[in-house]
Symmetry: C2
Amino acid sequence: MEYKFSDRVQNLKPSAIREIFKYAADPTVVSLSAGNPSPDAFPAKEIAEISQKLLSEDPISVLQYSVTEGYAPLREHIKEYMREYHGSGTDDDDILITTGAQQIMDLSTKALVNEGEVIICEAPSFIGSLNTFRSYNAKLVGVTVEPDGMNTDELEQKLIENPNTKLIYTIPNFQNPSGVTMSLEKRKRVYELAKKYGVMIIEDNPYGDLRYSGESLPNIKSFDEDGIVIYAGSFSKVISPGMRVAYAIAPKPVFQKLVVCKQGNDVHTNIWSQRVCDEFFTKYDFNAHLEKLRKIYTAKAQFCMDLLDKYCAPAITYNKIDGGLFIWCDLPEEIDMPQFCKTAVLNKVCVVPGNAFLTDENDVCHSFRINFSTPTDEQLEKGIKILGKLANG
Amino acid sequence: MEYKFSDRVQNLKPSAIREIFKYAADPTVVSLSAGNPSPDAFPAKEIAEISQKLLSEDPISVLQYSVTEGYAPLREHIKEYMREYHGSGTDDDDILITTGAQQIMDLSTKALVNEGEVIICEAPSFIGSLNTFRSYNAKLVGVTVEPDGMNTDELEQKLIENPNTKLIYTIPNFQNPSGVTMSLEKRKRVYELAKKYGVMIIEDNPYGDLRYSGESLPNIKSFDEDGIVIYAGSFSKVISPGMRVAYAIAPKPVFQKLVVCKQGNDVHTNIWSQRVCDEFFTKYDFNAHLEKLRKIYTAKAQFCMDLLDKYCAPAITYNKIDGGLFIWCDLPEEIDMPQFCKTAVLNKVCVVPGNAFLTDENDVCHSFRINFSTPTDEQLEKGIKILGKLANG
């Protein structure tokens, strides 16, 4: 059989990160390439407690089919929480529970973007989302990420050049992979530009609750009086990614289309895990849990930056971060970055080459991404020492 | 904001069944419209036991990110089981764990079918799959279902008429909604026709283990020496649908594309539930569990058919079933079926109008579908009595 795949997937490759995981699976390799929460960060005891209670008190309701929109009390609790703590969401919005935030990218693209239409992305941006957009044959157009977020003049330029733009995709807080946080001024400007050019925004905010320093900035969704922002939130980084529970806050007409698309995608999200998230989110002290996570990660982020200063200067420079799980490292121009990453793997440390995060992977890139949440302190020190040696000769 | 949705979803409507659920939510209405496993059918005690053990022994592994392909031991166990008990799958195939079998339809369509290309479906067929195909702007072409499965002469005719056909979609066992089981001869013929015309088959088999009478017939996948069959299996009807764990057995080149598409869809299926399914499937007596389910449903199916004979003859006729969860009922031509279903709801019994399952919902149809697994015996008797009264006047 000669397989005839669709045009959408002809050129689709496995995510470079997931491919790198294959090296990372070698236990002698230090992996700085993942994006997993720290093993210390899971409320495992509480989850076991909640699950046992649900399964003994009302097992059928957690094992039976459920509704596509998601568990109604969880949707209500998220609504209240996001309004109270983040000023995000209005009566014109509704909340859809999804199977990870990745599914929000999939459903939004399916519902809004025809093949060949444009999605404007930060360059660099999260590879998982870029690949989802590609899987619908959307055309990706990149906008440079600066230390205070995407270059908004360039954004307007791209909007003018591409009148068939349907979406602007942004991760405003501690962006993956750059670690950059968008300034308030730019958040407002992105919103105004989207409104002016009749384009929707996907605001992807998986790390928003993981701020280690500086002041929280309002979500772009909090400005949304015009129904143009789809907000993507997730429990992956703050409860458990293995459960795959996330949520979209979307204007009602968009929400309705997302629901229809989700029906055809996986009918509904695992209801057992939705129930567990709901109980943990509402019956336990969720804010105290977040405080605990921030404590763990603040220490780990600082430890990692100290190691970079100690072992990697001057050849490797990096952006200091205020939150999130990633640090973006820059190599001098005379070092061939892809070759550097390959050599690093051969020397038993695994990082993600920066070009993997570009809208065009073939563009030249001198950066790589490291993650500090997954490795132990010992692994971090070992890995970063090797990187420093390789870069500084 | 005037929302500009993609061409794919412009005409996509919520599934008629899910809409009917809104009536069914009224506790005074007897719902014969669902497809849920019987509350008696869940191994709730065992699931609680397994889950507690996993969460106490190795919590991080069930809560952390996992791989897109699925939990490796579960894939291996399914491979062995399907080869041993169903002669299905070879070394040229691989197994992907999915978030319900619905996701197999989604990923297969994304990977194989361009917009405007044809998927040949049984008419009637499972509405969830039809809507997934529609959500990729595939063109649906229906082939009449006869008492021994789809009309294979008509299938060949349709293949000739539509050279841009990419997939044949079939549910060979106790088809949803018709209850029909495809004969061995037709299974072979469908396979040969797919091979002859260079088209792939999706064999969807959610009910295969729920046979109540007659001899098991081989899966179409068991003939697959040419790598043309994607087999869709699921734990929804035999363990729990709320967990959303299913599996595709696909030729390796197709498997690889499905994996890439799944990465962009939901990264991986809930790993906690994968682990629970794996333990239940391998460390408990799975065949004894299936035997128990067959006992429950054999009694319920027979009870339902007896009620139809008692209360609904002569106006309502139906196909006797050998398995599955559904019975397809036919009204005489002089009764307007959609009107009958509406009147039934007003009289507090909810069934699914047959045209919902057609490739073109506007085609005339004199049938409706009832489900006997979800309602109690009392509800079944009450509901069927009302249907009989309405039909026989």
